[in-house]
Every structure is written in C-alpha cells, then in structure tokens.
C-alpha cells in the first residue's frame, strides 16, 4: 500500500480516464508541471500515467493523478507541509530545465552590426 492511502487527501475526480484526469489538472490548477511516468512524490508513491503527466499546484495544495487497475484514475489533492515541499521541488526542477535549455542554446549573435544611426537604417 502506498503512503498516499494513509494521507489526508481529497478526491477531486474519481474513476475517470487518464486523459480526462490530465485535462482536469490543467484546467483547475494555478500552476501545471509535467513529469515523467514513475516520478516519485510523498516518499514512496511513483506516479503511474500516460505521458505527459500533469501535476498541479493550487495555493499550497498539490493536485495529481492516482490510478488503480480496477477503478480507473482519480485526481487527488493533498494540502499539508509535504505538498508544499513537493510543489517547491517541482518549481526547482522547472528552473533547472530552463537553465539547462538556456545553456544548451547558443548566445544570440547577430551577423549584422546594429545600425549606428537613423541614417544607417534609412540606407538599408
């Protein structure tokens, strides 16, 4: 049994498809982050899902999917100290992604010199 089942959670959507659960998170969260299948939250819960896996933040609450083989996918929300930690971790991961993509892209270089004056621009 995952620790999720022992946590205080609220069910926002129950027994739905994964696709509908993802749409629900996108439409009902202040911030949406995308993670890979197997992403671990709350120490021992690995998210089962069809990529891209959406995770939402609404205030201090974390919104995520939980799939059970016989019952389908649920959208759950947890609002406690652990959810704040998880949201911060998602924000940090997003920042890391931006930084690494900036490092990969070459600095913007123009082959043309900027026009020195309005007259130069007019000549062009």
């Amino acid at each position: 049994m995952s620790c999720i089942e022992q946590m205080k959670y609220e069910i926002l959507l129950d027994r739905t498809t994964y696709k509908d659960a993802r749409e629900y998170i996108k439409e009902n969260s202040d911030e949406v982050y995308y993670v890979s299948p197997g992403y671990k939250i709350f120490r021992d819960y690995h998210i089962i899902g069809v990529p891209p896996i959406a995770m939402g933040a609404k205030g201090s609450a974390l919104i995520f999917t939980y799939t059970k083989p016989c019952y389908g996918t649920f959208v759950l929300t947890v609002d406690n100290e652990d959810s704040i930690k998880e949201i911060n971790r998602l924000r940090e991961k997003e920042e890391e992604k931006v930084i690494s993509s900036l490092k990969k892209s070459k600095p913007h270089e123009s082959s043309k010199k900027p026009p020195g004056s309005f007259l130069d621009m007019w000549k062009k």
């Binding site: 995952s2 994964y18 197997g38 690995h46 990529p51 799939t67 083989p69």
Partner: protein, 152 residues
C-alpha cells in the same frame, strides 16, 4: 530462448479470459525456455494462485505495483512484456511500462470495448486485439502466432 526475461502484466481480473490466457501464456513461454514472471493486482494474483495451486503453470507470481516500482528504480527489467488491458487503467499501466522499460511491448487488448480502447494507445507496442470477455479461444489463436514469431 533461455534467459530471455518475459513479464506478463495483469490488470483488473474482472474480465474472465485474462486469468486463463495468463496461465496459458506463462506455461507456453516457459516451455519454450523463456524466464517468465507474472505480475498482477492482489485479486488477479489470488485467482491465479488458486487456479494453479501447485505453481505448475506460473512459477514466479509477483505484485504488479511492486514490479513497476522495481523497474522505475532500475532494480529489474525485462526483455519482453505482455500487458493485459481491458480498461483505461490497464492502458495507463502499459503506457508507464512503455516509458520506463527497455522491453519489447505487446498490448493484449480484450473485452467488449477492445477496439475503442486500442485506439487510445499512443505508445509504441504491438497490439493483439480481441473483442472477447468470456471465450478465450480467438485470443489464444492470435497469441499462438505471436509466440511462434518470438520463439524463432
């Protein structure tokens, strides 16, 4: 095929043919020399264990979530995976396996909504589709062809 690791991933056992096909596939694959592991939900594994109480057809029977956790944590992986699915949750588990594992994936799509469910599959896999819930014969025939191919 000695040493080739095969995982049979069973979902919710509510559609009867899953148990019989899992027993059949496990035994056929083992007889061909494959190293077979069958993973399932609590109910699916109990159905199998009672049907095969002496472990004649299924030698390795494990918990589905624990197996996925082992694949995620890179403690285990397989060469071939057969994922049973008759509902969206089964498809979701298979999609997760597809994203995490190096295994060649076969989706066994069955049940009354098999065709519609197969259309929702967006990951790379071979699909074996049979709109059957109670009678496993047609699905068995399709799987026999797959077994013939992978045993070559």
């Amino acid at each position: 095929m000695t040493g080739v690791k095969v995982l049979l991933m069973m979902g919710c056992p509510e559609v009867p043919i899953q148990t019989s096909i899992a027993l059949y596939l496990s035994h056929k694959l083992a007889n061909s020399g494959f190293d077979v592991t069958v993973a399932g939900t609590g109910a699916a594994t109990k159905l199998l264990r009672v049907s095969d109480s002496d472990s004649y057809y299924v030698k390795k029977l494990v918990n589905l979530d624990k197996t996925l956790e082992d694949v995620i944590e890179k403690r285990a992986d397989f060469d071939i995976c057969f994922a049973f699915m008759h509902n969206d949750a089964g498809m979701t588990y298979a999609a997760t396996m597809s994203a995490l594992s190096e295994a060649k994936l076969y989706s066994i799509v069955f049940g009354r909504n098999a065709e519609a469910l197969a259309e929702t599959i967006e990951f790379d896999c071979d699909q074996i589709i049979e709109k059957a819930a109670h009678n496993p014969v047609q699905l068995k025939k399709k799987l026999d062809k797959v077994l013939e191919e992978i045993s070559k």
